[in-house]
Symmetry: C2
Subunit: 345 residues, 2 copies
């Protein structure tokens, strides 16, 4: 029994046909007679045959390994886990398998992982890049004709497709909502200015502020780490501005939670004494106290969208870079003060 794996020639022998016929059966060719096919299939299940995809796509000149690589920067973050699940859904049903890896924001790890994936002959790559990823990092992939789709974080200058949330519009919606509640001094808290996502969100902020007839004030923009700690720090600085803000749009939900913490530390109640809006709609946003008003992006839908785009490019053969922007929506909860009928000042 333990004389190595069962191969097509074993099957062929046992079924009394040639290995070519077995191969034909394997690919569901209509050339082989019904009776023969049945016999072969029977022998196959009897001997416990398992297809060797490695051998197969060694032969197939034009690769197409049926593996697609998925790289995310932080699986621990529910946002990215949902994204991966969305990707998996469409990838699976298209008969591909995914090769998922986590980089934990490490660019070295990302490089390692991607090169390992290449060695395994992925036919496409979907990546939510680690911070500080260079556009050039994907050059070799693209040169080799492997379609690459970047998701969540866009990579300016890279000749790859991307699927990102409508960052500008999301922030703009948040600003307009706060304006409609009567706020005029609205801060923008957190985020690193040298990232594409920051730029996009800031742009939405500027546009909406101006469109509301408010003058843009650079002092109200307080960048910082996109974390809870960063939020605490940012709100602290924002409150020291003379003519202090009465509301803030935060870079993401983590910053927003930090801002709430910071407000409380100063005896101010978020949603009553100060309006806070986040971005992402993470799972805790709903159950936090006060529940966070935020911009919701559906990561699972984004994953599906990105996977579809990638599959399209794989089957098209050549990768025409394409940019998709997915819609976001404003979820009004308590932290903006809308629910208790409060308006600013």
């Amino acid at each position: 029994m333990a004389k190595g794996r069962v191969t097509v020639v074993d099957i062929a022998e046992a079924a009394g046909v040639s290995k070519s016929t077995v191969s034909l059966v394997l690919q569901g060719s209509s050339l082989v007679k019904g009776a023969t096919r049945a016999k072969v299939l029977e022998v196959m299940s009897e001997l416990g045959y398992v297809y060797n995809r490695g051998a197969a796509n060694l032969r197939q000149t034009n690769a197409s390994s049926s593996i697609i690589g998925v790289v995310v920067n932080d699986l621990t973050n529910n946002f990215f886990a949902e994204l991966a699940v969305g990707v998996d859904m469409v990838v699976q049903s298209a008969g591909f398998v995914q090769f998922l890896s986590n980089t934990s924001e490490s660019i070295d790890r990302q490089r390692e992982v991607i090169s390992s994936m290449r060695e395994h002959g992925i036919s496409g790559l979907l990546v939510s890049p680690a911070r500080a990823t260079e556009a050039a990092d994907f050059k070799p992939l693209v040169a080799a004709g492997i379609p690459v789709v970047v998701v969540v974080r866009s990579l300016p200058g890279a000749k790859v497709s991307s699927v990102v949330a409508d960052n500008a519009n999301g922030v703009a919606m948040a600003v307009r909502h706060l304006v409609s509640l009567g706020h005029r001094r609205i801060a923008f808290l957190g985020g690193f200015p040298d990232t594409a996502v920051f730029d996009e969100r800031m742009q939405g902020y500027r546009t909406a502020i101006k469109a509301s007839g408010i003058e843009f004030d650079q002092k109200l923009v307080v960048p910082g780490p996109p974390s809870r700690a960063g939020g605490i720090d940012a709100i602290g600085r924002a409150l020291m501005i003379d003519d202090r803000p009465t509301a803030a749009v935060c870079f993401n939900d983590a910053v927003a939670f930090g801002a709430c913490d910071g407000l409380r530390a100063r005896r101010m109640e978020p949603g009553q004494d100060f309006a806070v809006v986040g971005f992402d709609d993470v799972i805790e946003a709903r159950s936090a106290v006060p529940a966070l008003t935020t911009i919701s992006v559906d990561p699972q839908a984004m994953g599906r969208r990105a996977a579809q785009l990638l599959l399209k490019q794989i089957s098209a053969g050549k990768a025409e870079p394409e940019s998709v922007v997915t819609a976001v929506r404003l979820v009004v909860r308590e932290s903006c003060g809308a629910k208790n009928g409060r308006t600013a000042a």
Copy 2:
């Protein structure tokens, strides 16, 4: 340029050596002279060579593909995402890559995914099985000599290794804690009696109850779906028992949250009028109101442990089934009433 991929013979030609020598360089053999190695490596990076692992382990008689398959039942659940990250950490650093897939509790999906993984020649499988997985489902893998490690949910009767939390001890700790707060009537809420995890937790409950000199009362065991809704239902039934309980250990945190909801619906405040303890320590446990007292299992550590076990078995060649039980700890927060100095009746 686009005349297909670069292979070892291309390298050999360009470097003026034979393909055998290039192969030797590839595997870091000490047989090749320093100068030659340098030359080969130089040409390799110049031509943009990428190693074809598929071809390689086609030749290597004893497989060892350097891929390990990881299957989880619900990636959306942070518990399992953390687990996967733990696995990834050790798998990566051992030079393997992981092939992660999500089954969403679908047994069909699980079967598909695993067979696809086999086709790709995984050298080991780590799986958190979907509900209703049969022990027999892993028979073929084991027969083919592929090590399998089951994690989180044990599979009684399967001849595979497993890494599970110390369920019995965890529940026992919870019971002892409640007893120390003065409770004597302690219910056990939620969970399906036909699962291994339920059996283990129940066993811990019984043991600790008896060890505390309390008589075991079957009526206090209220099974049900391991969900928030199940918790609401279970607490409702528990409160109708005559000589009603004053505290409950819940099958998991979801049930515990449901129990809290149910208590409030009856104008009872969890942590004051009734003590509730959960299991898992999910992320929301800390931030909920009241914060949930629960049994914490570290999923990332579990993932690491399981991966180590799997790698050990892969390198050992033969898989001697082994069972590992990982430690858990009691995290006292507010829902048990300990923090406000309350004790039962």
